[in-house]
């Protein structure tokens, strides 16, 4: 890829970007995006939430998965930070605890791509998994 140094460069490479995105959007239904929320209270940040958030973005980009990654504040599970809430279209959100970079990739492989569960689910949400 060419080096992007400024917003003007970015503007120029828009068409490439758009092509990449629309390719993916054709294969998925656009309003069915996966949502990933990383808890970012002091406790989450201290236990590596930033790195976890970056790991999710990186993996989604690499594997061309249609997902949005956002931040939330405290989810109230200090003891299990970093925590990540994942909402798949049509399914109740699930919160995973003790997530690190390795586990992020496991969650993508197992839960996001194959609907399998991964250990460390925060129990309150456990009953809401329907498959």
């Amino acid at each position: 890829m060419e080096k992007i140094k400024s917003l003007a460069d970015l503007r120029k490479m828009q068409d490439d970007l758009r092509a990449k995105i629309s390719l993916r959007e054709k294969s998925n239904e656009p309003d069915k995006r996966i949502q990933v929320k990383v808890a970012m209270a002091t406790c989450g940040i201290a236990s590596g939430a930033k790195e976890v958030m970056e790991a999710f973005i990186e993996e989604f980009t690499k594997r061309n998965i249609d997902a949005v990654v956002t931040q939330t504040g405290c989810m109230g599970y200090c003891y299990a930070e970093p925590t990540v809430e994942i909402t798949k279209p049509g399914v109740e959100p699930i919160t995973f605890g003790y997530v690190d970079v390795k586990k992020a990739s496991k969650i993508i492989d197992k839960y996001i791509l194959n609907n399998e569960l991964v250990d460390g689910i925060i129990p309150v949400n456990y009953h809401s998994i329907d498959n």
Partner: protein
């Protein structure tokens, strides 16, 4: 260091505009950053207690750590922390450190911090300015959205490109 954390306070305060300015001056041996928002602000009694570690308006937990840790670290590195806030108007947090002080927290991955905050909250007008020894780099939600002409700024496929862009620019002004 603390920047991600203090930015999260502004987001939690419901800010729609947040500005982050970082100034490094190695000649004056000074590093300061300033985060201002137009969020809910704090009443005077809250403001007085805000760097007390046992104070928080959180209901989920008994301690709030963000600002008290920042004050501790700033003071330990011969600097200071100043907070101005007004209910309904917003908040300004300004931290100042001695640049070469051994206890100064490192800036860390500031490019990542800025971009994660900016892209995770496309609805917030975020402005970032980084000045080091007189040279500066600037990025804002508005300018970015403008350059992207409709591509969502939280598009994951865009992130590596943005990160590389910010890193290159910071390298040019010798940050990190």
């Amino acid at each position: 260091m603390h920047i991600m954390d203090i930015l999260q306070n502004s987001i939690r305060a419901g800010a729609t505009e947040i500005s982050l300015e970082i100034r490094e001056d190695t000649l004056l041996n000074l590093l300061r950053f300033n985060i201002s928002d137009n969020g809910c602000g704090m009443a005077p009694d809250v403001l007085k207690k805000v760097t007390d570690p046992f104070f928080t308006t959180r209901t989920t937990r008994k301690v709030g750590l963000g600002l008290s840790l920042l004050r501790q670290n700033a003071e330990r590195s011969n600097g200071s922390l100043k907070i101005d806030s007004e209910t309904g108007k917003g908040t300004v947090v300004e931290a100042c450190f001695e640049y070469n002080h051994i206890d100064r927290p490192v800036l860390g991955d500031i490019a990542g911090t800025v971009l994660l905050t900016l892209t995770a909250h496309p609805e917030i007008q975020f402005r970032y300015l980084h000045n080091r020894n007189g040279r500066s780099f600037e990025l804002s939600t508005i300018a970015l959205k403008d350059a992207l002409c409709g591509i969502p700024i939280n598009e994951p496929a865009l992130y590596p490109t943005l990160l590389q862009m910010v890193k290159e620019n910071l390298k040019d002004i010798d940050v990190n």
